[in-house]
């Protein structure tokens, strides 16, 4: 082979290698793009709800008050709103028989009576007057309006029948159907009715779990790493501990769920389905990850710094606490945040400790039963109703958002603290 042909071959090989790299990047970007596209197009509509304009009559008779009486706010809250709600829910369309009345009534969402009540509680001066309210519609009407229900399939395979379609069309014509920001999604807990189901409970539950995970895992992991790296003698026992920490980091997360179920719930009797137990479980799971990250960043501190401090007559603890740990901080912080981000997306161990339960109330303390974001995604993804599909995607959007925020925080922490001196 001549020099020239060899040179040509080498260039060609280099070109080819670059091509392979670029192709791999394009393929992975394509799939990421596809995922994001699917999630965003499917989930964006969850932040919007459909409302129906309805006339509500807050008449004293319907609420059961005497005409001459001026009821207090407390009395209004005690009043029976059934008649007011019933009238409002059936008066927006002229029906001709009981069956049609039923079909009309179920076009409103599961929470319309509460919406009617709340409006009067907030505006007590409306008592005895008629007002026009935009009430949240049922999930079926919502999906129909968002265009997610095909109208041309046979009636018995549709959730909206022909009569309801007729009503819907006439309501659209009268301009009574509107779309508004979905105030339920970010502020309410889970519900059987898709139109009023929200992720607030899951967000708060995840938040509590992550905070508990941070409070437990970070100090324990840092101390363990500092001891192993700076103080422990290098012998058989520490070697075995080290190997086991590395192995623990690779243990499937569901095993930690089983551990928590067996020990935390059954032996210690901690409350089931709570973010307290969730947080402890996640901290067990992230401990090895954070220990490894902390050790790596401690190792990266140049030995000359340790020698400098020791030669100044600093004790071992002073050397570590004054110099080594502060210098390792950017690495330990970003390692911790990445470990927490991993914990935030973890589902399997939480299923086993009962965080998969259907919880309507938004938790106010970590010992309240609660959901978490990834478990909420899992729960909703199993629901057949169309309304939960968009909510699943929207929750994924939220979870991805939180993960991106946490990872950017890790990058920021690393750069901010590293740039300072070295």
């Amino acid at each position: 082979m001549t020099r020239e042909t060899r040179l040509k071959k080498r260039y060609a090989a280099e070109q080819r290698f670059r091509m392979y790299g670029i192709i791999s990047i394009i393929i992975s970007l394509f799939f990421v793009g596809l995922l994001l596209f699917k999630v965003f197009t499917g989930g964006a509509t969850a932040f919007i709800k459909t409302t129906l304009e309805v006339e509500v009559n807050y008449s004293k008779e319907l609420l059961g008050f005497k005409k001459t009486l001026e009821p207090t706010l407390g009395e209004i809250k005690e009043a029976d709103f059934f008649d007011v709600s019933y009238q409002a829910a059936t008066s927006f369309y002229k029906y001709s028989n009981d069956e049609e009345e039923k079909f009309i009534k179920i076009l409103l969402g599961g929470n319309y009576e509460q919406e009617i009540k709340n409006h009067l509680f907030e505006n007590p001066h409306l008592l005895g007057k008629k007002v026009v309210l935009n009430l949240t519609t049922s999930d079926d009407l919502d999906q129909l309006h968002k265009g997610n229900f095909p109208r041309d399939i046979p009636e018995d395979r549709r959730r909206i029948n022909n009569f309801q379609l007729k009503v819907y069309d006439s309501l659209v014509e009268q301009g009574k159907i509107k779309t508004k920001y979905n105030n339920y999604f970010l502020t309410h807990g889970d519900s059987r009715d898709a139109e009023i189901a929200g992720v607030a409970g899951a967000i708060i539950g995840s938040f509590f779990s992550i905070i508990i995970c941070l409070i437990l895992a970070f100090p324990i992991a840092l101390l363990a790493a500092v001891y192993l790296e700076e103080f422990a003698p290098k012998n058989r026992i520490t070697e075995i501990i080290e190997i086991n920490i590395n192995n623990l980091a690779a243990v499937p997360s569901i095993v930690f769920g089983l551990l928590a179920l067996g020990v935390l719930l059954n032996v210690f009797g901690l409350p089931r389905s709570t973010s307290l137990v969730g947080g402890i479980t996640l901290s067990l799971m992230t401990l090895p990850t954070i220990i490894i990250a902390c050790r790596a960043s401690l190792q990266a501190v140049p030995p000359s710094i340790r020698e400098g401090a020791l030669a100044m007559g600093a004790s071992k603890v002073q050397t570590v606490m004054h110099h080594v740990v502060p210098l390792a901080m950017p690495g330990t912080l970003s390692g911790t945040i990445i470990g927490l981000a991993q914990a935030l997306g973890e589902t399997a161990p939480l299923l086993l400790i009962g965080m998969v339960a259907f919880v309507v109330d938004v938790p106010s303390v970590p010992t309240d039963p609660s959901a978490s974001l990834p478990v909420q995604i899992y729960l909703w993804s199993e629901q057949a109703e169309r309304g939960f599909v968009e909510k699943t995607s929207a929750t994924i959007m939220l979870l991805l958002g939180f993960l991106i925020i946490m990872n950017s925080l890790a990058v920021w922490a690393r750069q901010k603290f590293e740039r300072k001196w070295i």
């Binding site: 710094i305 020698e307 030669a311 007559g313 001196w421």
Partner: protein
């Protein structure tokens, strides 16, 4: 020539695990004198230096036999606290290793942990005094709050010297302090050593024969873990008693 002995090594042997690095070193170092240790790489001169402030304690597998007396007291005695020892025996390393803190904090660190200053004014005085003694004050007095790592190599090494003298030690060990520096910075450090010996006893390990000749009163030549010859610098460089020393200083091996 009479002199007061500051450091006396008696039969010092050092083992790294199975491997013996130093063989029965005996030498005595005079007070307020500069003693140079020379020898080819791996000869054990740095190991010996690190025995004087027990920096070898950090290494798990390192074992030291024999005695080193400072002011007549064996520093390897069980009753000796290593932190107190290092307060009296400071060290400057081969590569400048200022802490990644401000210039002020670098110098004030030692006095802080040993509680040498009662208040801020006293600390300011110690910092100024130490930096002046290390011939660095004029260059950094306007930027004491800037990071020590931002200085030039020579300035960093003088900062490390200022740091070492801030706690008022009796002995300063220097482990090839100029090997990472250019000739001008080296000259400054050498001048400094000449001034510092008024106050401190200095032991310096160096690869530069000319440096040993310039700065030291006594020189020890190490080879393969043994102290081959220890005598006045004049004698070592003009009329060495051992042919190996002769070969080394004339550059025939090493």
């Amino acid at each position: 020539m009479t002199m007061e002995e500051k450091i006396i090594a008696k039969d010092v042997s050092v083992f790294y695990g199975e491997k013996q690095a130093l063989f029965d070193i005996n030498l005595s170092i005079g007070k307020n004198k500069v003693t140079a240790l020379i020898g080819p790489s791996g000869c054990g001169k740095s190991t010996f230096l690190r025995c004087i402030n027990r920096m070898n304690d950090v290494i798990d597998i390192c074992k030291v036999h024999g005695e080193i007396e400072i002011n007549g007291k064996n520093i390897y005695d069980k009753s000796v606290d290593v932190v107190q020892l290092r307060e009296k025996v400071g060290m400057v390393f081969q590569k400048p290793n200022p802490f990644p803190k401000s210039i002020y904090d670098n110098v004030s660190y030692g006095p802080t942990i040993h509680g040498l200053a009662k208040d801020k004014t006293e600390m300011d005085q110690i910092v100024e005094h130490s930096l002046k003694k290390a011939a660095l004050w004029d260059e950094v007095k306007d930027r004491l709050n800037e990071p020590g790592t931002g200085l030039s190599g020579g300035q960093q090494q003088r900062l490390c010297i200022a740091r070492a003298i801030s706690i008022n030690p009796e002995v300063i060990l220097m482990d090839e302090p100029c090997s990472a520096l250019d000739p001008i910075a080296t000259a400054k450090i050498e001048d400094l050593i000449g001034e510092l010996k008024e106050t401190f006893t200095i032991v310096i390990v160096t690869h530069s024969m000319s440096q040993a000749a310039r700065v030291s009163e006594k020189t020890g030549f190490f080879h393969l873990g043994k102290l081959i010859e220890f005598d006045s610098t004049d004698k070592i460089f003009k009329n060495p008693g051992n042919s190996m020393t002769q070969d080394y200083i004339t550059g025939r091996f090493g």
